[in-house]
Symmetry: C2
């Protein structure tokens, strides 16, 4: 077969792409318009989606229209609508027009930014936008790229925690674990409320779960610095080598805020790496009035927050900063001949392949740049303030209700609450609410008690959605009470 | 501020999204049409992109048109054009219309598939398409999800290697390293030509680089099974605990094919985990005539290949299969209260959060599904065969040239070659070719000698691009010879 006989093979031409692309864009716009008509939590049973898919792939190509129709017919019933304004579950994973279009352009340009040389704009825009964010969030300037630090986009806060732990492990051992392996002596610390990704990282890095100390929390579910100090002292006494502390600004269970400054002073005095995980709540620091929650960040060695949670940037986009980038690069660097190039050897550029686990990377800075430019700093602040205001309102309603109580303080946009009637009615309430389709909530346990979580952060959540959720919650609770 | 006064805040409306989305789609189509007009390798100097970006982010939002214009003006000069048909560097990272639109829809729907329940379609379509690929690639049926195995999409082969190594580490120690930490005894094996991600994984997992054995290769740069067996025996004699072997099907340097069957028998007899990394070359197994390269896969514990390299699916999309998924899940599972749900507890579903490092995950199966359906199996095979045919042609030209020689066998679509005049002229040749902008090649060293690599796999590379590359290479070499 010659090129002349088949100049394009089976590829979609640019004209077909224009036509199909419009259809896809319109599909998304229509989806935005009708999103409130779907039950928020998918109602399919296990295996139901697969049951409608053909057992074998097609031998011959199919038209794009058929694929798009199948997204409606076969896929949508199995979608839990994270972009519904009635999605109050977990933490948000919100998106926005500029982010989606940034992702589209990133896929269209299709560069792989493992090295500066493999697309300088991919690296430089990322470094630049992460420097912007240092200013926008009021982070310490040591995280800027013009000193010894710098920022990088990771997929998730789990990966950021792993990278921070690895750099901490290597710094604590003179980069010896990388060479000879771990020896079971290193210990790590996080509060009992810290995210499960810390335990996952500790296992992956070969420290062992038994060497992770889950430090006691106070009545607000925040880490107790005195307990941290005691655990470190006990470990040193037992011949262990403390290397890593994770402080959380906004825990997943209840949005508890660990006291970063006090923890930071302990870490500084003890020479221990401090990582601060602000995956969801970090976005609030766009507003100066919320920055107090992470005072003491100047004592942190690394920090992350996720624009893909609450900053209108579609998943995945976790921003990770490090004060001493050399520790990370030395930990993760590999330099095979086939990746060598003049720019890398000059030392004048960042090669982001050495800042995370994967080698390859896509151009995620584009969507982040688009989001920041589309909203402007003021637009982003507006929505953060609005979400916090709505959560405070909801929290007031809970407080005044008699039938419900708050289960934890509400520093920002997460409300933990429960029906006063005990665990069983709360379990049934959650189940019935989610089955109803009008909203989606998830739960946690706090102080051993079953607790509902209402997380406000979906891009399009407005007051009417929160009021409607509150009405539905009250009505459903009343139903359950009547049923007894 | 009330909702009534500002019903939508600063968000892009669905109508604006339609308009801006069309502009973005057209921009990409125009980019496809004019891609051959750009120098393939970006010519900017370090810092040049950042120098044109404003030092601070905008306080107020900007129009989408301005952002799109800036992609042209500020970003394009810093792009190395991976989607140019004249991109012959590294391995391809190709894309296609259906993949880009699948990515777009995935961003638009914006689901986060960490659990089955958080969007059943995201999990089930992924499992289903990876089962399709088991058939399409002729992989052992033990990798299908209906037995003890199953497939998952990872970001990159680096992450797949890490996950395989972690499961191997835990299986070898009765899941003890996860609990108590590593002890420096575990050893891992890969050929001296294996990808740098294996060394990276060995460091991350706490084994230590000194415990990675880079096994000797034969004259074709493939692992020598006798050398592997000898290394394992030596390690056992020294009290070490061999736990992991990585065989490569298509090394990055030269596309060397390790003998999977012989290596697999050693691993089976020794009870060692065998991971097979076919990141680029695995796509060739779409064609039955190329499957011989990985005969013996039935002895592998895990396997990966990257549709984001040679199968027209934009980055990131690495497919990873495991024969005993419980080993992986047990290794990576964490189950905090806030992620618990009925579907997970029923055991009837996969929760992919436990199959990789990150917790969150986007709906990447959509683009893979679109690619397979758009091309059909026959369309994908057509392009793989065409690329291999072009590489064989180029290799014949090298062979017949007198001035150049092949530096390694050419099993598929990568040609390693060099000018017969020694390392210096090859270095200068590469530099001048890439500076010229008409094509982009990279290099490696083989047998200690500087070697050029011509990798054929960009979606739109046709015979005219390869012939033109060959003419440019010959003319440039002649220039350098004349200059002496």
């Amino acid at each position: 077969m010659t090129d002349a006989a088949d100049p394009r093979g089976f590829h979609m031409t640019s004209d077909e792409f224009r036509r199909n692309g419009r259809a896809a864009v319109d599909w998304i716009a229509d989806y935005m318009d009708r999103i409130e008509s779907f039950p928020v939590l998918s109602r399919v049973r296990p295996g139901e989606i697969r049951a409608h898919l053909p057992a074998v792939p097609p031998a011959e190509g199919e038209p794009f229209d058929a694929m798009l129709a199948d997204v409606d017919r076969l896929i949508l019933p199995g979608i839990t609508h994270w972009q519904s304004p009635n999605f109050f579950a977990y933490f948000p994973s919100n998106n926005s027009g500029p982010a989606i279009l940034g992702e589209l352009l990133s896929a269209g340009v299709g560069v792989q930014g493992m090295l500066w040389a493999t697309s300088p704009a991919c690296t430089e825009l990322e470094t630049h936008v992460l420097d912007w964010l240092v200013g926008m969030l009021g982070l310490p300037s040591k995280f800027r790229s013009d000193g010894t630090g710098g920022g990088v986009i990771q997929d998730t806060a789990s990966s950021s925690a792993l990278c921070a732990l690895l750099a901490a492990r290597e710094r604590a051992t003179g980069f010896r674990v990388n060479e000879v392996g771990a020896d079971g002596k290193l210990t790590a610390y996080a509060s009992s409320q810290a995210h499960s990704s810390i335990e996952k990282a500790v296992k992956i890095a070969g420290l062992g779960r038994e060497n992770l100390r889950l430090v006691e929390v106070d009545g607000r579910f925040a880490m107790r610095p005195d307990a941290l100090a005691r655990r470190i002292a006990e470990d040193r006494g037992a011949g262990k080598a403390p290397c890593f502390v994770c402080a959380t600004v906004g825990t997943t269970s209840s949005n508890a805020i660990d006291p970063v400054a006090e923890i930071g002073r302990i870490c500084r005095d003890e020479g221990i790496w401090l990582h601060v995980d602000a995956a969801m709540s970090g976005t609030a620091a766009l507003c100066p009035e919320f920055r107090g929650m992470q005072e003491g960040l100047d004592l942190a060695d690394s920090y992350c927050f996720n624009p893909h949670k609450w900053m209108f940037t579609n998943f995945d986009c976790d921003c990770f900063w490090i004060a001493d980038r050399e520790a990370l690069i030395r930990t993760l660097s590999v330099a095979p001949e086939y990746l060598k190039n003049q720019a890398s050897e000059s030392g004048a550029v960042f090669d982001y392949r050495d800042w995370h686990v994967p080698l390859g990377r896509r151009f995620r800075a584009l969507k982040l740049w688009f989001v920041i430019r589309h909203y402007g700093v003021e637009g982003l602040r507006h929505h953060v303030r609005r979400h916090v205001e709505l959560a405070q309102k909801f929290s007031d309603w809970i407080d005044a209700s008699g039938r419900f109580e708050l289960a934890a303080p509400v520093p920002l946009n997460l409300v933990c609450f429960r029906h006063v009637g005990g665990d069983e009615i709360n379990r049934r309430l959650l189940e019935r609410l989610n089955a109803g389709g009008r909203l989606y909530l998830t739960h946690t346990t706090l102080g051993g008690r079953y607790t509902l979580r209402l997380s406000i952060g979906q891009s399009r959540t407005e007051e009417r959605h929160v009021s409607s959720a509150w009405r539905t919650i009250q009505e459903t609770a009343a139903e359950l009470e009547r049923e007894g």
